[in-house]
Protein backbone atom coordinates (compact mmCIF):
# COMPACT_ATOMS: atom_id res chain seq x y z
CA UNK A 1 0.00 0.00 0.00
CA UNK A 2 2.71 2.43 1.06
CA UNK A 3 4.84 1.67 -1.99
CA UNK A 4 1.94 1.82 -4.39
CA UNK A 5 0.60 5.10 -3.04
CA UNK A 6 4.03 6.70 -3.06
CA UNK A 7 4.52 5.60 -6.67
CA UNK A 8 1.15 7.04 -7.66
CA UNK A 9 1.87 10.34 -5.94
CA UNK A 10 5.28 10.62 -7.54
CA UNK A 11 3.67 10.10 -10.93
CA UNK A 12 0.98 12.61 -9.99
CA UNK A 13 3.54 15.25 -9.07
CA UNK A 14 5.12 14.57 -12.44
CA UNK A 15 1.86 15.65 -14.07
CA UNK A 16 -0.06 12.39 -14.53
CA UNK A 17 -3.67 13.18 -13.70
CA UNK A 18 -4.78 9.56 -14.01
CA UNK A 19 -2.28 8.45 -11.39
CA UNK A 20 -3.39 11.30 -9.19
CA UNK A 21 -7.06 10.31 -9.39
CA UNK A 22 -6.08 6.73 -8.54
CA UNK A 23 -4.05 7.98 -5.59
CA UNK A 24 -6.93 10.07 -4.28
CA UNK A 25 -9.39 7.17 -4.65
CA UNK A 26 -7.17 4.75 -2.77
CA UNK A 27 -6.40 7.25 -0.08
CA UNK A 28 -10.13 8.01 0.32
CA UNK A 29 -10.72 4.43 1.38
CA UNK A 30 -8.04 4.65 4.05
CA UNK A 31 -9.08 8.05 5.31
CA UNK A 32 -12.78 7.22 5.34
CA UNK A 33 -12.35 4.36 7.79
CA UNK A 34 -9.82 6.35 9.82
CA UNK A 35 -12.14 9.34 10.09
CA UNK A 36 -15.19 7.21 10.90
CA UNK A 37 -13.37 5.50 13.71
CA UNK A 38 -12.03 8.75 15.12
CA UNK A 39 -15.33 10.60 14.99
CA UNK A 40 -17.48 7.72 16.18
CA UNK A 41 -21.25 7.86 16.36
CA UNK A 42 -22.60 11.28 17.20
CA UNK A 43 -19.19 12.85 16.65
CA UNK A 44 -18.55 16.52 16.00
CA UNK A 45 -18.89 16.28 12.22
CA UNK A 46 -20.08 14.06 9.39
CA UNK A 47 -17.25 11.66 8.50
CA UNK A 48 -17.72 12.26 4.78
CA UNK A 49 -17.38 16.02 5.31
CA UNK A 50 -14.12 15.52 7.16
CA UNK A 51 -12.91 13.10 4.50
CA UNK A 52 -13.53 15.70 1.80
CA UNK A 53 -11.76 18.30 3.88
CA UNK A 54 -8.78 15.95 4.24
CA UNK A 55 -8.71 15.34 0.47
CA UNK A 56 -8.71 19.07 -0.21
CA UNK A 57 -5.90 19.53 2.31
CA UNK A 58 -3.85 16.69 0.79
CA UNK A 59 -4.32 18.30 -2.59
CA UNK A 60 -3.48 21.88 -1.64
CA UNK A 61 -0.57 20.82 0.59
CA UNK A 62 0.91 18.14 -1.64
CA UNK A 63 4.10 20.18 -2.03
CA UNK A 64 4.78 19.48 1.66
CA UNK A 65 5.36 15.78 0.95
CA UNK A 66 8.99 14.97 0.25
CA UNK A 67 9.14 12.41 -2.56
CA UNK A 68 11.92 10.54 -0.77
CA UNK A 69 9.94 9.88 2.39
CA UNK A 70 7.06 7.45 3.11
CA UNK A 71 3.67 8.82 2.15
CA UNK A 72 1.32 7.18 4.65
CA UNK A 73 2.68 9.03 7.71
CA UNK A 74 2.20 12.27 5.77
CA UNK A 75 -1.36 11.34 4.77
CA UNK A 76 -2.31 10.37 8.33
CA UNK A 77 -0.65 13.43 9.83
CA UNK A 78 -2.95 15.59 7.71
CA UNK A 79 -6.00 13.41 8.43
CA UNK A 80 -5.30 13.55 12.17
CA UNK A 81 -4.91 17.33 12.01
CA UNK A 82 -8.31 17.66 10.34
CA UNK A 83 -10.01 15.30 12.80
CA UNK A 84 -8.59 17.26 15.72
CA UNK A 85 -9.74 20.43 13.96
CA UNK A 86 -13.28 19.06 13.68
CA UNK A 87 -13.33 18.43 17.43
CA UNK A 88 -11.77 21.80 18.14
CA UNK A 89 -14.53 23.56 16.23
CA UNK A 90 -17.05 21.83 18.46
CA UNK A 91 -15.09 22.82 21.53
CA UNK A 92 -14.03 19.29 22.40
CA UNK A 93 -10.52 18.07 22.82
CA UNK A 94 -9.32 14.76 21.51
CA UNK A 95 -6.02 13.01 21.56
CA UNK A 96 -5.40 10.88 18.50
CA UNK A 97 -2.98 8.10 19.22
CA UNK A 98 -0.50 7.26 16.49
CA UNK A 99 -0.63 3.60 17.53
CA UNK A 100 -4.22 3.45 16.39
CA UNK A 101 -2.98 3.78 12.83
CA UNK A 102 -1.24 0.44 12.78
CA UNK A 103 -4.41 -1.51 12.09
CA UNK A 104 -5.96 0.87 9.62
CA UNK A 105 -7.10 -0.95 6.53
CA UNK A 106 -9.03 0.16 3.51
CA UNK A 107 -12.36 -1.13 4.69
CA UNK A 108 -14.83 -1.60 1.85
CA UNK A 109 -17.22 0.91 3.32
CA UNK A 110 -19.90 2.49 1.25
CA UNK A 111 -19.47 6.05 0.20
CA UNK A 112 -22.26 8.39 1.18
CA UNK A 113 -23.14 11.57 -0.62
CA UNK A 114 -22.38 14.62 1.43
CA UNK A 115 -24.73 17.52 0.94
CA UNK A 116 -23.41 19.63 3.74
CA UNK A 117 -20.17 21.52 4.22
CA UNK A 118 -18.80 21.35 0.71
CA UNK A 119 -22.11 22.37 -0.88
CA UNK A 120 -22.25 25.38 1.39
CA UNK A 121 -18.66 26.31 0.59
CA UNK A 122 -19.29 25.82 -3.11
CA UNK A 123 -22.36 28.03 -3.10
CA UNK A 124 -20.42 30.86 -1.50
CA UNK A 125 -17.87 31.01 -4.33
CA UNK A 126 -17.88 33.83 -6.89
CA UNK A 127 -20.07 32.88 -9.87
CA UNK A 128 -17.19 32.24 -12.26
CA UNK A 129 -15.31 29.90 -9.96
CA UNK A 130 -18.53 28.17 -8.95
CA UNK A 131 -19.45 27.52 -12.59
CA UNK A 132 -16.03 26.01 -13.30
CA UNK A 133 -15.87 23.84 -10.16
CA UNK A 134 -19.46 22.64 -10.66
CA UNK A 135 -18.85 21.82 -14.31
CA UNK A 136 -15.79 19.70 -13.54
CA UNK A 137 -16.94 18.05 -10.31
CA UNK A 138 -20.71 17.61 -10.33
CA UNK A 139 -21.19 17.62 -14.09
CA UNK A 140 -18.08 15.62 -14.84
CA UNK A 141 -16.73 17.71 -17.70
CA UNK A 142 -13.05 17.94 -18.56
CA UNK A 143 -11.06 21.17 -18.50
CA UNK A 144 -11.42 21.45 -22.28
CA UNK A 145 -15.17 20.81 -22.32
CA UNK A 146 -15.66 23.31 -19.51
CA UNK A 147 -13.65 25.92 -21.41
CA UNK A 148 -15.83 25.38 -24.47
CA UNK A 149 -19.10 25.52 -22.61
CA UNK A 150 -18.23 28.63 -20.61
CA UNK A 151 -16.33 30.19 -23.56
CA UNK A 152 -13.21 30.64 -21.47
CA UNK A 153 -9.58 29.90 -22.20
CA UNK A 154 -8.28 26.64 -20.76
CA UNK A 155 -5.70 28.44 -18.65
CA UNK A 156 -8.45 30.64 -17.19
CA UNK A 157 -10.46 27.51 -16.37
CA UNK A 158 -7.44 26.00 -14.61
CA UNK A 159 -6.86 29.16 -12.59
CA UNK A 160 -10.55 29.42 -11.63
CA UNK A 161 -10.60 25.74 -10.65
CA UNK A 162 -7.52 26.08 -8.47
CA UNK A 163 -8.73 29.26 -6.80
CA UNK A 164 -12.18 27.79 -6.32
CA UNK A 165 -10.79 24.67 -4.63
CA UNK A 166 -8.52 26.76 -2.42
CA UNK A 167 -11.46 28.96 -1.43
CA UNK A 168 -13.60 25.91 -0.64
CA UNK A 169 -10.83 24.54 1.55
CA UNK A 170 -10.52 27.87 3.36
CA UNK A 171 -14.27 28.09 3.98
CA UNK A 172 -14.73 24.45 4.85
CA UNK A 173 -16.23 24.09 8.28
CA UNK A 174 -15.77 27.76 9.05
CA UNK A 175 -19.47 28.50 8.66
Amino acid sequence: MEQELAELMRAALGGEDVAYAAFLRQVSGLIRSFVRRKLGAGGPAEPEDVLQEVLLALHLKRHTWRASEPILPWVYAIARYKVVDAYRRRGQRVVVDIDDLSDVLAAPEQETASERDIERALSSLPAGQRAVVTSISLEGRSIGETANRLTMKETAVRVALHRGLAAIAAKFGRT
Binding site: A12, L13, G15, D17, V18, Y20, A21, L24, R25, S28, E48, L51, Q52, L55, L56, A57, H59, L60, K61, H63, T64, R66, E69, P73, W74, A77, I78, R80, Y81, D85, E111, A113, S114, E115, I118, E119, L122, V133, I136, S137, L138, G140, S142, I143, R158, L161, H162, L165, A169
Partner: protein, 210 residues
Protein backbone atom coordinates in the same frame (compact mmCIF):
# COMPACT_ATOMS: atom_id res chain seq x y z
CA UNK B 1 -21.22 16.73 -3.64
CA UNK B 2 -20.02 13.15 -3.73
CA UNK B 3 -16.44 12.47 -2.82
CA UNK B 4 -15.92 11.01 -6.29
CA UNK B 5 -16.97 14.36 -7.81
CA UNK B 6 -14.49 16.15 -5.60
CA UNK B 7 -11.73 13.74 -6.60
CA UNK B 8 -12.45 14.47 -10.26
CA UNK B 9 -12.07 18.19 -9.61
CA UNK B 10 -8.88 17.70 -7.60
CA UNK B 11 -7.35 15.45 -10.26
CA UNK B 12 -8.07 18.10 -12.91
CA UNK B 13 -6.19 20.71 -10.91
CA UNK B 14 -2.75 19.34 -11.59
CA UNK B 15 -0.74 22.28 -12.84
CA UNK B 16 -0.19 24.63 -9.94
CA UNK B 17 2.69 23.60 -7.75
CA UNK B 18 3.88 25.51 -4.73
CA UNK B 19 7.55 25.46 -3.72
CA UNK B 20 8.76 23.09 -1.00
CA UNK B 21 8.59 24.29 2.62
CA UNK B 22 12.39 24.62 2.73
CA UNK B 23 12.36 26.86 -0.31
CA UNK B 24 9.47 28.92 1.07
CA UNK B 25 11.29 29.39 4.39
CA UNK B 26 14.56 30.25 2.65
CA UNK B 27 12.79 32.89 0.57
CA UNK B 28 11.14 34.28 3.68
CA UNK B 29 14.53 34.64 5.36
CA UNK B 30 15.97 36.37 2.29
CA UNK B 31 13.12 38.85 2.51
CA UNK B 32 13.09 39.22 6.29
CA UNK B 33 16.78 40.08 6.75
CA UNK B 34 16.73 43.28 4.63
CA UNK B 35 13.37 44.22 6.18
CA UNK B 36 14.82 43.95 9.68
CA UNK B 37 17.90 45.90 8.56
CA UNK B 38 15.73 48.66 7.08
CA UNK B 39 13.60 49.08 10.20
CA UNK B 40 16.74 48.98 12.36
CA UNK B 41 18.39 51.74 10.32
CA UNK B 42 15.25 53.87 10.46
CA UNK B 43 14.99 53.82 14.26
CA UNK B 44 18.60 53.14 15.36
CA UNK B 45 22.20 52.95 14.14
CA UNK B 46 25.11 50.65 14.91
CA UNK B 47 27.01 52.20 17.78
CA UNK B 48 29.88 54.54 16.77
CA UNK B 49 32.57 52.25 18.18
CA UNK B 50 31.16 49.17 16.45
CA UNK B 51 34.41 48.25 14.68
CA UNK B 52 36.61 48.71 17.74
CA UNK B 53 34.15 46.65 19.82
CA UNK B 54 34.70 43.61 17.64
CA UNK B 55 37.65 42.53 19.77
CA UNK B 56 35.54 42.63 22.93
CA UNK B 57 34.44 39.15 23.96
CA UNK B 58 31.39 40.53 25.74
CA UNK B 59 30.30 42.37 22.60
CA UNK B 60 30.79 39.28 20.45
CA UNK B 61 28.99 37.03 22.93
CA UNK B 62 25.78 38.94 22.18
CA UNK B 63 25.94 37.90 18.53
CA UNK B 64 26.84 34.34 19.45
CA UNK B 65 23.60 34.15 21.43
CA UNK B 66 21.30 35.98 18.99
CA UNK B 67 22.62 34.23 15.89
CA UNK B 68 22.37 30.84 17.58
CA UNK B 69 18.75 31.60 18.43
CA UNK B 70 18.03 32.67 14.86
CA UNK B 71 19.73 29.65 13.30
CA UNK B 72 18.20 27.03 15.58
CA UNK B 73 14.72 28.52 15.26
CA UNK B 74 15.03 28.75 11.47
CA UNK B 75 15.97 25.08 11.48
CA UNK B 76 13.02 24.19 13.74
CA UNK B 77 10.60 26.25 11.66
CA UNK B 78 11.58 24.44 8.47
CA UNK B 79 10.91 21.12 10.16
CA UNK B 80 7.60 22.12 11.72
CA UNK B 81 6.40 23.48 8.38
CA UNK B 82 5.73 19.90 7.21
CA UNK B 83 2.87 17.79 8.60
CA UNK B 84 5.32 15.04 9.48
CA UNK B 85 7.93 17.43 10.81
CA UNK B 86 9.25 17.20 14.35
CA UNK B 87 11.54 19.75 15.88
CA UNK B 88 14.45 18.10 17.62
CA UNK B 89 14.86 18.91 21.29
CA UNK B 90 18.40 20.19 21.00
CA UNK B 91 17.37 23.08 18.79
CA UNK B 92 15.29 24.40 21.70
CA UNK B 93 17.88 23.65 24.35
CA UNK B 94 20.95 25.11 22.67
CA UNK B 95 20.23 28.84 23.03
CA UNK B 96 19.03 28.75 26.67
CA UNK B 97 22.04 26.66 27.65
CA UNK B 98 24.33 29.13 25.89
CA UNK B 99 22.66 32.13 27.54
CA UNK B 100 22.90 30.60 31.01
CA UNK B 101 26.48 29.47 30.46
CA UNK B 102 27.73 32.86 29.28
CA UNK B 103 25.76 34.66 32.00
CA UNK B 104 27.22 32.34 34.66
CA UNK B 105 30.74 33.09 33.46
CA UNK B 106 30.01 36.81 33.62
CA UNK B 107 28.58 36.39 37.10
CA UNK B 108 31.79 34.73 38.28
CA UNK B 109 34.07 37.28 36.59
CA UNK B 110 32.31 40.41 37.88
CA UNK B 111 32.96 41.74 41.40
CA UNK B 112 29.86 41.20 43.59
CA UNK B 113 28.73 44.85 43.72
CA UNK B 114 28.71 45.31 39.93
CA UNK B 115 26.55 42.34 38.95
CA UNK B 116 23.14 43.89 39.48
CA UNK B 117 24.00 47.20 37.73
CA UNK B 118 25.39 45.22 34.79
CA UNK B 119 22.19 43.22 34.56
CA UNK B 120 19.90 46.24 34.74
CA UNK B 121 22.06 48.24 32.33
CA UNK B 122 21.09 51.59 30.81
CA UNK B 123 19.09 50.55 27.76
CA UNK B 124 16.44 48.21 29.12
CA UNK B 125 13.51 50.24 27.85
CA UNK B 126 14.88 50.78 24.36
CA UNK B 127 15.88 47.11 24.19
CA UNK B 128 12.36 46.03 25.14
CA UNK B 129 10.92 48.35 22.49
CA UNK B 130 13.39 48.09 19.63
CA UNK B 131 13.62 44.29 19.39
CA UNK B 132 9.86 43.74 19.02
CA UNK B 133 9.61 46.66 16.57
CA UNK B 134 12.48 45.41 14.40
CA UNK B 135 11.17 41.85 14.54
CA UNK B 136 7.55 42.54 13.70
CA UNK B 137 7.81 42.71 9.90
CA UNK B 138 10.10 39.66 9.70
CA UNK B 139 7.60 37.80 11.88
CA UNK B 140 4.86 38.77 9.43
CA UNK B 141 6.95 37.36 6.59
CA UNK B 142 7.55 34.10 8.47
CA UNK B 143 3.84 33.76 9.28
CA UNK B 144 2.96 34.25 5.61
CA UNK B 145 5.52 31.59 4.72
CA UNK B 146 4.02 29.14 7.24
CA UNK B 147 0.59 29.70 5.70
CA UNK B 148 1.95 28.25 2.47
CA UNK B 149 3.24 25.20 4.29
CA UNK B 150 1.33 22.71 6.44
CA UNK B 151 2.32 22.84 10.11
CA UNK B 152 0.08 20.53 12.16
CA UNK B 153 0.83 22.59 15.27
CA UNK B 154 0.17 26.15 14.01
CA UNK B 155 0.47 27.88 17.38
CA UNK B 156 3.78 26.17 18.13
CA UNK B 157 5.11 26.92 14.64
CA UNK B 158 4.06 30.57 15.08
CA UNK B 159 5.83 30.75 18.44
CA UNK B 160 9.01 29.36 16.91
CA UNK B 161 8.70 31.86 14.06
CA UNK B 162 8.42 34.59 16.70
CA UNK B 163 11.62 33.39 18.39
CA UNK B 164 13.31 33.31 14.99
CA UNK B 165 12.21 36.89 14.27
CA UNK B 166 13.45 37.75 17.76
CA UNK B 167 16.87 36.27 17.06
CA UNK B 168 17.09 38.28 13.85
CA UNK B 169 15.93 41.54 15.46
CA UNK B 170 18.19 41.07 18.47
CA UNK B 171 21.19 40.58 16.19
CA UNK B 172 20.65 44.02 14.67
CA UNK B 173 19.79 45.59 17.99
CA UNK B 174 22.94 44.17 19.58
CA UNK B 175 25.07 46.20 17.16
CA UNK B 176 23.50 49.36 18.58
CA UNK B 177 23.26 48.62 22.28
CA UNK B 178 26.15 49.54 24.57
CA UNK B 179 25.06 47.15 27.32
CA UNK B 180 27.30 44.21 26.50
CA UNK B 181 27.04 42.26 29.72
CA UNK B 182 25.67 38.74 29.21
CA UNK B 183 23.63 39.38 32.36
CA UNK B 184 21.84 42.23 30.55
CA UNK B 185 21.31 40.00 27.51
CA UNK B 186 19.99 37.12 29.61
CA UNK B 187 17.36 39.34 31.20
CA UNK B 188 16.22 41.97 28.72
CA UNK B 189 16.85 40.28 25.39
CA UNK B 190 14.94 37.25 26.64
CA UNK B 191 11.98 39.39 27.64
CA UNK B 192 12.00 41.30 24.35
CA UNK B 193 12.26 38.12 22.29
CA UNK B 194 9.53 36.62 24.46
CA UNK B 195 7.17 39.38 23.33
CA UNK B 196 7.70 38.33 19.71
CA UNK B 197 7.26 34.68 20.65
CA UNK B 198 3.86 35.43 22.19
CA UNK B 199 2.78 37.52 19.19
CA UNK B 200 4.00 34.72 16.91
CA UNK B 201 2.04 32.11 18.84
CA UNK B 202 -1.16 34.12 18.56
CA UNK B 203 -0.55 34.82 14.89
CA UNK B 204 0.03 31.11 14.33
CA UNK B 205 -3.23 30.29 16.07
CA UNK B 206 -5.24 32.83 14.13
CA UNK B 207 -3.65 32.96 10.70
CA UNK B 208 -1.71 29.76 10.07
CA UNK B 209 -4.55 27.24 10.46
CA UNK B 210 -5.31 25.45 7.24
Amino acid sequence: MKTEDLIRALASDGTVKAPSPERTCARAILLAVPLAAAVFLVILRPRPDFMESLDSLRFLSKFLVTLTLFATMAYATMHLARPTGRASAWSFVLTPVLVVLVAAMEWLVLPPGTRLPAMLGHNALICMTAIPVIGLLPLGVFIMALRQCAPTAPALAGTIAGLMAGGLAATFYASHCTDDSPLFVALWYSLAVGVLAIVGGLAGRWFVRW
